[in-house]
Symmetry: C2
Subunit: 211 residues, 2 copies
Amino acid sequence: MDPSRSLPMADEPARERADAARNREILLAAAAELVESDGVDAVTTEALARRAGVGKGTVFRRFESREGLMAALLDRSESEWQAAILSGPPPLGPGASARDRLRAFGRSRIELTLRHAALIRAAGHAGTRAYAPVAFAAMHVRYLLGELGVSGDLGYLATALLAPLEIPILEQQVEVEGRSVEAIAASWDDLVDRVIGSRSLRGSDGGAARR
Amino acid sequence: MDPSRSLPMADEPARERADAARNREILLAAAAELVESDGVDAVTTEALARRAGVGKGTVFRRFESREGLMAALLDRSESEWQAAILSGPPPLGPGASARDRLRAFGRSRIELTLRHAALIRAAGHAGTRAYAPVAFAAMHVRYLLGELGVSGDLGYLATALLAPLEIPILEQQVEVEGRSVEAIAASWDDLVDRVIGSRSLRGSDGGAARR
DNA sequence: CGACTAAACGGACCGCGGTCCGCTTCTATT
DNA sequence: AATAGAAGCGGACCGCGGTCCGTTTAGTCG
């Protein structure tokens, strides 16, 4: 009896039929192509279904909604980012000090979020809260705060540090206020230092930009 | 010559025709009634137009979009809150210390945001950034930070303090994590103290909740 | 007061997200 | 290999947000 593929394993909730799984992949690939070539707005459910050679209903059965599809696309493209944090080279990955890792995290998160801005917007509700990458980021920041010996409600502090890195805020800063990624990252670093409470021991970085 | 009503005054951009202004009021009133009686989802543009006795096109000419309409509704209902901050009784209004005003601000902002959650969601993009109340809140927090003698990029710090008070985060905390308004407010107070840097002089409040 | 123009109006129309249901295909079982 | 039933499938259909354009009306000026 082959144990690798038969019994439900108790964590996969339902098991997807082979053709269903195939269609999921076809749809994700088609969606990615469409995004690449014509932008997020071109991904209408009908256009996508036509391109993937399936019916419209299939799109919804696989992904719940258009937003769910976008979230799936995001998940896929952010998984390598997660890997870089968990096991990539420092300072993002393990090996650097917690403070440096936190800073690297902030910068890369800002860049990633802005890069995927259109997709994140299109993922709407599903993309702004409670989908995999956000939960992962919260866990990671919380962990780093712990490493830094911060006291207090670490869960809340992690949320508070993550909140200004969400798209609406970042886009406001970039598009309306005209700030650069560098400037935003520097300000965020300053925020981090205040939250972790290392005000006095400002090291080599010379402090945050004052605009 | 009556100066109160004729020349454009140079700040009102276009001047709205009398019937147009009347229809705006009729629509806002009808929308408020509909929200009150049947909830935000019942405010479809057609239902609203029918109820207000105007054509569907008029809704869009007056408010740009359904989201714009919701934002207008929000603006109206938040104007009294703004007044309470600018000239109401302490600690929300002037008279209390800046730190107390900031705390009062946070609590009332949390309550207000949760109270209007459905409307804010429906206002979507228009309601989450760059509409009057948000800009007002940012200005106010920034001012209070200044009063407290905080150094650094006050604009960014204000944004960072406001970000965790936006609906997606608040709803996550209330609905998923099951936290109370009190607990959230307490955590936010702690965040404020970290940002303003008054860690050592913890006064009578005994610190934030640790969950 | 009558005429002229810009603004406002209404509702038919369009495209998209989402649902529904009768038909097809997969897979487990014997 | 045959079969039963669950899971998946497709596309017609629906309701809503948003646009468009021919018609009406408010305000202005001679």
